[in-house]
C-alpha cells in the first residue's frame, strides 16, 4: 500500500470526511518554518467545516466535442423526432440528451463509436440524396420515410439487429430515451406533474469498496 493511502485508511475510521483528511495527512504538511520550534508545531485539527457544494449540472452545460457539427445536428434532429416532449415531460432535446450522448460516446468502446458515426453519417447522406436537404433540415414526414423501415421489435434491449443501420437506430433510440428519463430535467417535471415515474429515479448507490491503489 502506498504511504498516503495507509494514512487515508487509518484516518477514515474517524468521523471526518476522508477527502478533508487526505489533504491534511502529515506527509502533506509543509515543513515547519525555521522560526517555529518543533514543539510548537500545530496539532492535527479535530474537525473542519463541511461546506455546501453545488452540483455541476445546474451550473454549466456539456461542451460537445466528439461528434462533428453535422453528426450532432443529425443526432439532435433524431432526438426531436424519436423522443419529443410528451405529457408535460421534457423531450430528449430539453434534457440535453444529444450533448450527454456526445460525452458518453466519447468514452465508449470503439465499435459503439463507429456504429454511431456511421449511422449518423448515413442518415444525413440518405436525407440529402432523397430530399436534397441535410437530415437536420427535413420535415418529420420525410424523416419518417427514412426511420420507419429501420425500426425492429426486439425481445430484450440487448438484442441488436444484424443490419448496421437497424442496430444503430435501436441503440440511439434506447440511449436517447434513457438519457432523457434519467435526466435532472425529467425528474423535476415528474415531481411537479405527479406523473408515474417509469425510468430513472433514485437508487441505493454502492461507493467503491476499499479500492486497490
Amino acid at each position: 500500500m502506498k504511504r498516503r493511502n495507509f494514512f487515508r485508511s487509518a484516518l477514515t475510521a474517524t468521523v471526518l470526511p476522508a477527502v478533508v483528511l487526505a489533504e491534511q495527512t502529515p506527509t502533506q504538511q509543509p515543513p515547519p518554518a525555521a522560526t517555529t520550534p518543533a514543539r510548537e508545531r500545530p496539532r492535527q485539527p479535530q474537525s473542519a467545516p463541511h461546506l455546501a457544494v453545488t452540483e455541476v449540472d445546474v451550473t454549466a452545460e456539456t461542451s460537445p466535442h466528439f461528434f462533428t457539427a453535422d453528426q450532432l445536428a443529425t443526432l439532435t434532429k433524431l432526438a426531436t423526432i424519436l423522443v419529443p416532449p410528451m405529457k408535460g415531460k421534457p423531450g430528449a432535446v430539453d434534457a440535453q440528451a444529444p450533448e450527454f450522448l456526445d460525452f458518453l460516446l466519447s468514452v465508449s468502446p470503439k465499435d459503439r463509436q463507429l456504429s454511431y458515426q456511421h449511422g449518423l453519417d448515413t442518415l444525413n447522406a440518405e436525407a440529402k440524396k432523397t430530399f436534397g436537404s441535410p437530415f437536420a433540415a427535413i420535415d418529420p414526414k420525410q424523416a419518417d420515410k427514412l426511420i420507419r423501415p429501420l425500426l425492429v421489435a426486439r425481445p430484450w434491449p440487448q438484442d441488436l439487429p444484424k443490419d448496421p443501420m437497424k442496430s444503430f437506430l435501436a441503440q440511439v433510440h434506447e440511449d436517447l430515451r434513457t438519457a432523457t428519463t434519467n435526466s435532472r430535467e425529467y425528474a423535476a417535471a415528474a415531481s411537479t406533474t405527479g406523473g408515474r415515474f417509469t425510468r430513472g429515479g433514485s437508487g441505493l448507490y454502492w461507493a467503491p469498496i476499499d479500492p486497490i491503489s
Partner: protein, 524 residues
C-alpha cells in the same frame, strides 16, 4: 510474535465457506478463513442517490463490466472488476463470469430461490442416458437440506411432486391467485402440468447470507479467524506425504506474499475460482476431468402477452398481478416424447408492462402504445438445464495473469442442439398457453443469454465413486489429496433447472461433518 496454528483453512466466505466455518468451529475445530476481497460496510458504502447525480446518468461507465449484464451504475462497485481480474474466452463463445469478492461473496446478493434437486438430477444418467449419475441420491442429502432450510427459513408450498421435492418450509400463506394466474393454471393442469409457487429463503432482517446466518455463530465459538483481502495463489504440498500443507496468498493492497499452514484445506471460493486454484497448484487432477463438465442454466427465453381487458388502465381488480412457478414438466420418465433431453421450469408474472423495444414505433405513437399496454402483461421465462459436457471446460491461460500475477482462466462453453431444441420447446409451449388464454403475444424469443449469465455455474471438479472419472468423492473430498475438500458448486455432476444454493449449502454441511468426524477419529 508466535503464529497461530489452525486445523482447517477455508478459502472463501460465501454460502459454502460460511457453512463449513459454521459446522467445523462448532465441533471445536479451529479455522482460518481467507477472503479475496474486503468487508462491505452497509452503512458507509451505500447511499441513496438520484440517477441524474451519477457520473454517467445511469448508463454505467462504458466498457467497465462488459460481461456482467446484471451491473448498473448503482451497483457497479459490488462486482469483481474485469480489468483487475480478467479471464479469457474464444471469440466465438462468449461467457459471462459474474463474481463478487466482498466478504460473504455472492451470498450478499443472491435471488434467494431455494429448491432441492430431485433424483431426476442425481440419477440423470439412468433416466436420459447422458453423463454420469451423482454418487449420492436425494435420500443422502435430505437431512442436510432440512437443516439448511431451517437456518435460511425457506418459504414454499408443499406439492408432493417427485420432480419438485418438498422441504422443511416455514408456514406461509398465499393470497388468492388473480384471474390471469388462475387461467394459466387451468390451461396447464388440463395438460397434466403442475403449477406451484416459488420457494424463497426469508433469512433474517431482509438478508439471507453467510454474513448474518452462518459466520456470526462461527465467530462466537472463538474458533474462527477471518482475514480479508487475502488472494490465494497456490496450495502448497508436503513432498513426503503428497498432502496439502497450506497456501500461499498475496495481500490485495500491498501484494505482500504470505504463507499459512493448516492440516486441511477447504476450498469454497466459488466453482471456477476453486478450480482455478487447484489447476494453478497442479494437484488433484489424476482423472484429467478437472475443469471439465462446466455447466449452468439457460436464461433468456421469454414470452410476453398483453391481456386485452387490462389495457388502458381498465383492468378490473383481481385480474392482474401475482405470479406462479411451474417446475420441470418435460421428460419426467424414461419413455420421453420430446426431441430433447432434460427440462426447464417456467416462472410466470402478471401485471407487468411492455417495454419500448417490444414495438417498432417511436415518439408519441410509441408512448401511446406503452401507456395503453402498461400493467396489462403476463410474462413467462425459463431456467433451462444444460447438459454437462466434457467439451465445456476451463483451463489455465498461460499468457494472461491478473493484477496479482496469478494466471487466469480460459473459459470455453458452447451450446448444442439439445439446448436449442429445449429453448424452442419452451418458447412455443408458453406461447401456446398464452394464445389459448386469448391474450395478444407482444414478444417471443427462444434466444439465450451467454452461458454463465445465470450465475449458477457448477461442475469442473465433479464428484463420483470412480477416481478415474471424477475429481472428488461423494464427501466433496479430493480423490488424490485426501486433506483437500471442495465444498462449493464445483462438485456438481448435473446442474438441474433449480437454483443451486440450497444444494451447495447442504453439500458443504455434509462434507464438513464428515471432515470433522475424520479429524476426530483419524489423521489423513
Amino acid at each position: 510474535m508466535a503464529i497461530k496454528q489452525y486445523d482447517v483453512l477455508i478459502v472463501g466466505s460465501g454460502h459454502s465457506g460460511g457453512m463449513a466455518a459454521n459446522i467445523l468451529t462448532q465441533k471445536g475445530i479451529s479455522c482460518l478463513m481467507l477472503n479475496a476481497g474486503p468487508e462491505a460496510d452497509y452503512e458507509k458504502d451505500r447511499s441513496v442517490k438520484q440517477v441524474y447525480e451519477l457520473p454517467y446518468r445511469g448508463f454505467n461507465k462504458p466498457g467497465r463490466l462488459p460481461h456482467v449484464f446484471q451491473a448498473n451504475e448503482f451497483n457497479a462497485n459490488q462486482w469483481v472488476d474485469e480489468q483487475e481480474n480478467p479471464y479469457t474466452i474464444p471469440p466465438d463463445a462468449p461467457y459471462n463470469w459474474v463474481r463478487v469478492r466482498l466478504l460473504g461473496g455472492r451470498s450478499l446478493f443472491w435471488a434467494r430461490q431455494s429448491f432441492r434437486l430431485s433424483d431426476l438430477e442425481f440419477k440423470a444418467a439412468e433416466i436420459d442416458g447422458s453423463g454420469e449419475n451423482w454418487p449420492i441420491s436425494l435420500a443422502d442429502l435430505d437431512p442436510y437440506y432440512s437443516r439448511v432450510e431451517e437456518i435460511f427459513r425457506v418459504a414454499g408450498r408443499k406439492e408432493a411432486w417427485p420432480q419438485f421435492p418438498d422441504g422443511n418450509f416455514v408456514e406461509t400463506s398465499y393470497p388468492p391467485d388473480t384471474e390471469t394466474i388462475r387461467k394459466v393454471t387451468e390451461i396447464c393442469n388440463k395438460r397434466g402440468i403442475g403449477v406451484s409457487k416459488g420457494r424463497s429463503a426469508l433469512g433474517k432482517d431482509g438478508l439471507a447470507s453467510s454474513v448474518n446466518l452462518l459466520l456470526p455463530d462461527a465467530l462466537a465459538t472463538g474458533k474462527l479467524d477471518i482475514v480479508e483481502n487475502a488472494i490465494v495463489r497456490e496450495i502448497t504440498t508436503d513432498k513426503n506425504t503428497g498432502l496439502a500443507s497450506g497456501v500461499h496468498f498475496v495481500d490485495r493492497h500491498s501484494k505482500r506474499e504470505m504463507h499459512v499452514k493448516a492440516k486441511t484445506i477447504v476450498l469454497a471460493a466459488g466453482c471456477l475460482e476453486s478450480t482455478r486454484l487447484l489447476l494453478n497448484s497442479k494437484i488433484g487432477n489424476s482423472s484429467g476431468v478437472m475443469g471439465h463438465y462446466l455447466v449452468d442454466q439457460m436464461y433468456g427465453v421469454s414470452v410476453v402477452a398483453s391481456v386485452p381487458e387490462a389495457r388502458d388502465g381498465k383492468a378490473p381488480s383481481g385480474l392482474m398481478g401475482g405470479g406462479s412457478f411451474i417446475p420441470r414438466f418435460r421428460n419426467l420418465s424414461k419413455d420421453k416424447k420430446s426431441d430433447f433431453i432434460k427440462g426447464y421450469c417456467v416462472t410466470l408474472n402478471s401485471g407487468g408492462s411492455a417495454s419500448p423495444n417490444h414495438f417498432p414505433l417511436y415518439g408519441e405513437e410509441l408512448q401511446q402504445k406503452l401507456d395503453s399496454y402498461a400493467n396489462s402483461c403476463v410474462s413467462g421465462g425459463i431456467f433451462g438445464e444444460r447438459i454437462a459436457r466434457y467439451e465445456n471446460h476451463v483451463r489455465i491461460d498461460p499468457k494472461t495473469v491478473d493484477h496479482w500475477g496469478i494466471p487466469v482462466l480460459h473459459i470455453e462453453a458452447r451450446d448444442t442442439d439439445n439446448e436449442r431444441k429445449l429453448c424452442k420447446d419452451a418458447a412455443d409451449t408458453i406461447e401456446e398457453w398464452f394464445h389459448e388464454a386469448g391474450w395478444e403475444i407482444v414478444c417471443k424469443t427462444d434466444r439465450v443469454n451467454p452461458p454463465g449469465y445465470s450465475i449458477h455455474e457448477v461442475g469442473t471438479c465433479r464428484m463420483g465413486d470412480d477416481p478415474k472419472k471424477s475429481v472428488l468423492n461423494k464427501w466433496c473430498q479430493s480423490h488424490d489429496v485426501k486433506n483437500v475438500f471442495v465444498v462449493d458448486g464445483a462438485s456438481f455432476v448435473t446442474c438441474g433447472w433449480q437454483n443451486p444454493t440450497m444444494t451447495i449449502l447442504s453439500l458443504s454441511m455434509r462434507a464438513s461433518e464428515y471432515l470433522s468426524e475424520q479429524m476426530r477419529t483419524s489423521s489423513f
